[in-house]
Symmetry: C2
Subunit: 148 residues, 2 copies
Amino acid sequence: MASSRFAVAVHTLALLARAEGQPLDSRAIAHSVNTNPVVIRRALCALARARVIRVRRGAGGGAALARAPHEITLLDIYRAVNGGAAFALHPAPQRRCPVGRSIHAVLCWVQDEIDAAVQRTLAEITLQDVVDRLQTGRRPTPTRGRKR
Amino acid sequence: MASSRFAVAVHTLALLARAEGQPLDSRAIAHSVNTNPVVIRRALCALARARVIRVRRGAGGGAALARAPHEITLLDIYRAVNGGAAFALHPAPQRRCPVGRSIHAVLCWVQDEIDAAVQRTLAEITLQDVVDRLQTGRRPTPTRGRKR
DNA sequence: CGTCAATGTAACTATACCGGTTACATTTAC
DNA sequence: GTAAATGTAACCGGTATAGTTACATTGACG
């Protein structure tokens, strides 16, 4: 992916976390993200399918977190909104060349290695961590899973 | 990035590694990658700027590795051809909202964490590893840096 | 020194993807 | 029943990318 869907989703969930159970509608979220409510609803839809939020339709409806912020990881969000891989394979290598014939499998392996590393990283950051950093603008108490 | 430039670069370097110092021209590489020579030359150009390969212009010219395959990591290649980050920030959050005002810094931090994880992973895979996997189609002897 | 082969690069095109927007059917509270 | 909200389709415009053509530049070699 090279889209902003993940960024929009994190922003949205941060708002929901601060709303503390009070459902927010797509119009209000769109105002903070500074985009169109439909863009938000598209993200909300993916997050609801992943059981990260619960959405109520109809008048007075809106979205709220399905569980506490410290129980939602960025990996949950990543999986909900993310389609493709970090880099694209090239479409059709020449199969008459020994390298062309087998490079695809090697590149798939590299993709998997990258994706595994990304997922390991995102699994260690929770929505609560994001909210904590929001409020202070600085990193708060050192978070449990952090490396480096 | 979500382009195939990285894939093309790895494919290209695998060919050069197997050529064992014999320079290959963009036409030959393009044939194996199954694309246009200009696309290859664009990749070659970036790789030469990063000192991963040496390119000779003029008649009988072409590209060759600048050092041994086991001294070239996928991180070298990634850095040479890669522009952007794994995901995009959303352009302009609403600054009158406290979340909108500070979410950008948090997302930048997440980007950095992801990029660091990706780079750590790529730094542990060499071009030699890629070539070994090419030749057998299977993973060869367990490589030094591997995790999981 | 001239020729030829190769790179480096600009320019253009076609395609794909994405965000933004409008529109509307569906759902739900009151 | 009405109003308010979601879910989703359809479309538009901008942007990035791969592919292509073209050409100036470079360099080997007779």
